[in-house]
Symmetry: C2
Subunit: 272 residues, 2 copies
């Protein structure tokens, strides 16, 4: 996502110097070449030294250690945000570690695809997508406004949620679908793979996402993910009871409720 | 699906007269107008009277009663097939009800979308899609060959499965995904609907399917669907254990296995 942020900033915000840090030299070279960054560093310290805004775009499990590395190097007044898919632990770490006079604001720009790497970077990745910022009672309100306005300038819609609400809702709407897609594909008999149609491939598409990233996310949000799984299993039990009892009308209601709710989700999205 | 079959036959098989039966006059008129059928009937008896091949394209729950209605009218040598998404009960009914000298062969052309109605008919609906035929020890082999060859002439790939294997595998690969999509959308909090991204909408797309059709399918295949749900819930329990125990490596393996399996499914599909 770092590459897409660089490209989007280059196209949409004048007068920024974009400094990239990465541990793969080839990725840094590619980012320089495509104009996603102006300067490249293979260590985080020098990369953040003069930055007004630092955006951490690493897997969720690496954001904590990365914060520790950059803290001593931050300039007075620097704002640090991140793009992690979970927020409670990251925001806790940011608020605990950042030195006085610097500010942490949690962000979750909900954009991207199952494809990773700077070669897939797109300057329009953020257009009309939703960015959730997750302020707490300790968040500096000017820093929050700066971060919100930054994502808006990249074309994003914005929403604010507490880190707790964010992680609970995202478990339902993002982490659970991933888990279900993975489970669904895993339980198939071999012959079923020859039979799967477009519907099946749609449902399981997100199971192709990077396993390391998703391991971090599920672990970091483990309590909420387990609660979401339990909620789903309970809803499936309702269905099992209806099927066992042959309750035709209640079964149809179970299905109609779902179809209507999806229609609502789609309308809200189209209305944006 | 009847409309698409009519259009496909018209474009790809010479010298057929296509007779349509339906209970909605507007749909019959539309089908005549677009050339999907040559003659229209509002009763099944007259529609099938001189037919060499009868294709029942009604919801799964209506195929049995429809078979009873058409049996007395079938010509000697007529072949009857269907497009139902479940096969055990339909094939049983076909074999039990059809008079001597006529033949039933179960078909499941896996094509179509969540959109219903003759206005969505497409002559290329069947191109490269898979058609499963479900012969039993009682199936006439010439009738089976005729039906298989008919679907192939519409552009379909073909596969044969016993009605039992068909219903077991389809529960995993088609009915379970539908149930999961419906459950997933149903358990969301209202605020989650504002947050859902492309991944979520992909995963739940099939939950928009016609509820009446799906009620029939789930009821007809109730035993297998419940077994599929149980299998999935068991696989989710494995995940819960890994999350509770914080078993990072095993968790990543759980995810990698799924991603690799989806890749395999996609490769098989692309290799077709």
């Amino acid at each position: 996502m770092g590459g897409s942020i660089g490209l989007a900033v280059k196209h949409r915000i004048n007068g920024c110097k974009i400094v990239g840090y990465g541990h793969r030299p080839a990725a840094l070279q590619a980012a320089l070449k495509m104009g996603a960054i102006d300067e490249a560093y293979d260590e985080p310290g020098p990369a953040v030294r003069d930055a007004d805004l630092v955006i951490l775009c690493t897997p969720v499990g690496v954001i904590g250690p990365m914060l520790e590395q950059i803290c001593p190097e931050l300039a007075q007044g620097a704002i640090v945000t991140d793009v992690g898919s979970t927020k409670r632990h990251i925001v806790d770490a940011g608020e605990a570690l950042l030195p006085a006079g610097t500010h942490f604001v949690g962000s979750h720009p909900m954009a991207g695809s199952e494809k990773r790497g700077v070669e897939f970077a797109r300057e329009d990745l953020f257009d009309r997508a939703l960015c959730i910022t997750t302020p707490t009672s300790r968040t500096n309100s000017q820093a929050l406004d700066s971060v919100t306005s930054f994502w808006k300038r990249l074309g994003m819609r914005s929403m604010r949620l507490s880190p707790e609400d964010h992680d609970r809702i995202l478990a339902d709407v993002s982490h659970l679908p991933h888990v279900l897609a993975a489970a669904l594909i895993s339980i198939q008999e071999d012959v079923a793979l020859d039979l799967c149609g477009k519907g099946f491939l749609d449902v399981t598409r997100i199971a192709s996402g990077a396993s390391g990233l998703w391991r971090d996310i599920l672990q970091d949000n483990s309590d909420n993910v387990r609660r979401s799984v339990a909620k789903l299993v309970e809803h499936l039990r309702e269905l099992e009871v209806l099927l066992e009892a042959g309750q035709s009308e209640a079964l149809e209601r179970w299905l109609v409720t779902a179809a209507e709710r999806r229609k609502k989700a789609l309308e809200r999205r189209e209305g944006e």
